[in-house]
Symmetry: C2
Subunit: 134 residues, 2 copies
Amino acid sequence: MGIGFGRRKSKGTTAERDLIHKFWAAGWAAVRVAGSGSSQFPSPDLLAGNSTRKFAIEAKATADNNKYFTEQEIRELAYFSSKFGAHPLLAIKFDNRGWFFLNIDDLKKTDKNYVASFKIAELYGLKFEELISE
Amino acid sequence: MGIGFGRRKSKGTTAERDLIHKFWAAGWAAVRVAGSGSSQFPSPDLLAGNSTRKFAIEAKATADNNKYFTEQEIRELAYFSSKFGAHPLLAIKFDNRGWFFLNIDDLKKTDKNYVASFKIAELYGLKFEELISE
């Protein structure tokens, strides 16, 4: 992609913070999980909740039309969510088009990965306001 | 007392990791929250959950007989828990005597702080196995 890891990581962290702001502004609570992806236990990027609902979220931002998730990311998200008692969600921020929220089943499986295309996000994804008012 | 911040922090982190292990070993999921205490939003040290229960936890370890919590820590724990939909808990690991879990109401209020003494923990606290089997 021509951009270094540092910059990609920063883009991801900024996106996560943006999402956390949105949840708090809507009256929910949300946190970033420490050591996500490096802990010995599976863990999502974010947890969000209100009195009745809980989401475990893998959050990614992209300037592209496709965002990829590894099999391991998806498997761990599903496993964590089943243990914690949360609904697993993929949150993808497409540049200039905002956040879309997808279920694991919405992703397209390829040989090695899961793909969330912008087309899939538009068809099956929820916008933030739809997600929290469901 | 008499030990530097680095060591205290390390002791705290080790204790948090120990507690996370215990939850996973018991079939729950648990995570450390990123930037707890420094984020612009209130957040607990840990979140733990299973299919029906959620805990927001401030976790501290001590070699002493008293562990102090600031008013702000307690206020933020209560606020976060009400928004996220979790039960707020203080988890205190007394050296050689293991973990005790207290409700906010169990703490003794002083002028500036809340105190969990070992005596209070023994009287009102739950041990880990009691907590998860409640």
